[in-house]
């Protein structure tokens, strides 16, 4: 039996046992997100499409699946969804800028040794592909942080209907600060784990510090990690502001 199938089966059983109906839905959502990713990459094959725009569309789908499908459409998921899209757009500009400037796109010298049997003249803009990859790596964490903020903010508003917009916003920020550390940890360890081989490789081949900090692979990885961390931080004020603005009507606006 294929190990991936077995692991997927174990995950499915555990999610169903622990989470019941919602667990099963979460598993299906994971699968659907995987499909969205694959379909996006398949469409990117057409050199006439813009990979960055495609990624944005994919993010809309991923956000909708992760939020609306698992939790139904209600104001906390809608607000989290809007915050996610907004943050992704904002981050995208920065990612595109830094990817182009620091030239972290394409395959690195180290990787390309293993790719000699392939034709690399494939007519796809690798700057955009790299930016798309970075955005995709971040989207899961942004969605998670967004819903972790809008959901308790709605609870707070329900328990204190008279709360001012500013107070509600500040409680959103406080909730965000509490989860900032654990969310960034989640991302960082995921990347550490994924690139453990690379780190050992650098040490084994005795790369000098100067070579490491200027290499394409390390810069690519670090820039992805750090932009993902920025995304998790930026979504906090965005989600808090959108939620506070939506839940507390204009007439209660007291600053």
């Amino acid at each position: 039996m294929n190990v991936l199938l077995l692991l997927a089966l174990i995950l499915f059983i555990l999610m169903a046992l622990v989470g019941g109906k919602k667990g099963i839905k979460s598993f299906i959502a994971l699968f659907l997100n995987f499909l969205v990713l694959i379909v996006t990459v398949l469409i990117m094959n057409d050199p006439n499409t813009n990979p960055v725009l495609l990624t944005l569309v994919a993010c809309v789908f991923i956000g909708a699946i992760s939020l609306f499908y698992i939790n139904d459409i209600n104001n906390k998921t809608t607000l989290a969804f809007i915050a996610t899209i907004f943050t992704t757009l904002l981050l995208l500009l920065f990612i595109f800028f830094i990817t182009e400037k620091s030239m972290i796109y394409g395959f690195s010298e180290e990787e390309s040794d293993g790719l000699t049997i392939f034709s690399v003249y494939i007519g796809i803009d690798f700057v955009k592909i790299a930016a798309s990859g970075i955005i995709m790596g971040t989207i899961g964490a942004i969605v998670d942080t967004a819903i972790s903020i809008t959901s308790p903010m709605r609870e707070i508003h329900q328990h204190n209907p008279g709360i001012t917009r500013k107070d509600l916003f500040m409680s959103g920020i406080r909730i965000g600060r509490d989860i900032l550390n654990t969310s960034s940890n989640t991302l960082f360890f995921a990347f550490f784990g994924g690139y453990l081989g690379l780190l050992i490789w650098f040490k084994d081949l005795e790369y000098s510090f100067g070579e490491i900090v200027n290499s394409k692979v390390l810069n690519g990885e670090l820039i992805s990690i750090l932009t993902a961390g920025m995304g998790v931080a930026i979504v906090i004020p965005i989600a808090s502001a959108i939620t506070a603005h939506h839940l507390v009507g204009i007439k209660d606006k007291k600053k």
Binding site: M1, V3, L4, L5, L6, L7, L11, L14, M15, V18, G19, G23, S26, L37, V41, S66, I98, S102, Y105, G106, F107, E109, E110, E111, S112, S119, V120, Y121, I122, G123, I124, G133, I134, M136, D144, S148, R177, L180, T182, S183, N185, T186, L187, F188, F189, A190, G193, G194, L196, G197, L199, W201, E211, V213, N214, S215, K216, I223, L226, A233
Partner: protein, 363 residues
């Protein structure tokens, strides 16, 4: 009050000075490098050829003449000319532009690494500043705990490189104890909820690793394409397992502390809370986070494979072959991490209830 105010400003000034001086440094650190650095002053396109590869992909190869000035070493200030060839897709070689700085390759006449340190430091600073601005004290703690964890990892890897007889798994296992205790204490201080989360993290990580081991054992690792792990200097299997262990740790810690702090908060609000009620609320929280948490790991792992997937597809590799060779390792990591996340939910639930019951009995 006034003192606190001043202290705050001192910190701001300190951060600002560190920021400005490090930016100035990386933009003028040429002499610290042994390799020759040049800066492009002019580029001229010499030739442009449209090409079609054997799979009908259209691309354009361009040859450019680059004039560059040497920035360090004995020949500092002299100009030189280099030819650079790239394809418009820029899969391997770059379209170089005026102002770009790069290292000369070892042959002294071709383009080596791009000088990227000034952008890396800019991104690091931006990250630190955003975290400080949004998170204030918690943001500072996040940055600090990331730095500490990176140092621990680096030390652990050094120990591994120099003592190859010690298994990487054991070294990572020991580092995990440090990672977990330090990160969780930094997040929520010395409190019972922290101890609960630490214990739950250990149990959750160990159980999920055991399950992954068993799954690998019973399937004979069929379907795992270790040979596709790029950049390896060691036995891939060990690196894969160690990466699995560390990779899911952050997510497991996140689940453990989120659940234990909410459950202890319920207890603090109502000291006599019934354990059935606790169990039910804890499970609700767990259900809420399991979907998004597994998503984080999934996207963090799989997104890195996008360029490779495209390269394979464009070289007319069959879709099944492309997916299995490029994604098997990443998917196995994401799935095993997901198992860890889901298992940690009931583990944290029962450990929290155990501690809370003990506190209730003491009253």
């Amino acid at each position: 009050m006034k003192r606190k105010f001043q202290k705050k400003y001192l910190i701001y000034i300190f951060v600002l000075i560190a920021f400005i001086s490090s930016i100035i440094f990386v933009n003028n650190n040429y002499e610290f490098y042994d390799r020759t650095i040049v800066q492009i002053t002019e580029t001229d396109e010499l030739e442009r050829t449209e090409i079609v590869d054997q799979y009908d992909n259209k691309d354009v190869t361009v040859t450019q003449q680059i004039t560059a000035v040497i920035k360090n070493g004995a020949d500092k200030g002299q100009t030189m000319e280099i030819e650079n060839q790239y394809s418009e897709s820029q899969a391997i070689h770059f379209h170089l532009k005026e102002g770009t700085e790069f290292f000369l390759a070892n042959d002294g006449i071709s383009v080596g690494d791009i000088k990227r340190d000034q952008y890396l430091i800019l991104v690091i600073w931006l990250f630190v500043l955003i975290l400080l601005f949004v998170g204030k004290k918690q943001g500072a703690l996040s940055v600090l705990s990331l730095a500490v964890n990176a140092i621990i990892l680096s030390i652990a890897l050094d120990i591994y490189i120099h003592n190859s007889d010690i298994s990487l798994l054991i070294i990572c296992g020991i580092s995990i104890i440090f990672f977990t205790v330090l990160s969780l204490v930094m997040v929520s201080g010395l409190h019972e909820k922290t101890y609960t989360a630490i214990l739950a993290t250990f149990l959750g990580t160990a159980t999920s690793l055991a399950i992954a081991f068993l799954a690998f054992f019973f399937t004979g690792e069929q379907g795992l394409r270790y040979e596709e792990m790029s950049l390896l200097s060691r036995h891939p299997q060990v690196i894969f397992m160690a990466g699995l262990l560390i990779g899911s740790l952050g997510a497991v810690m996140d689940v453990a502390i989120t659940m234990s702090s909410s459950m202890f908060e319920l207890y603090e609000k109502n000291n006599k809370i019934n354990s059935d009620v606790l169990k039910k609320s804890g499970l609700e929280i767990g259900k809420d986070i399991m979907g998004t948490m597994t998503n984080i790991l999934f996207f963090a792992y799989v997104s890195g494979s996008i360029p490779n997937l495209l390269l394979y597809f464009k070289n007319e590799s069959p879709i099944g072959f492309t997916l299995t060779t490029n994604l098997s390792i990443e998917l196995a990591r994401a799935l095993a991490g997901g198992i860890g996340i889901v298992l940690t939910i009931p583990i944290t639930l029962y450990i929290s209830i155990y501690f809370i019951k003990r506190k209730q009995a003491k009253q």
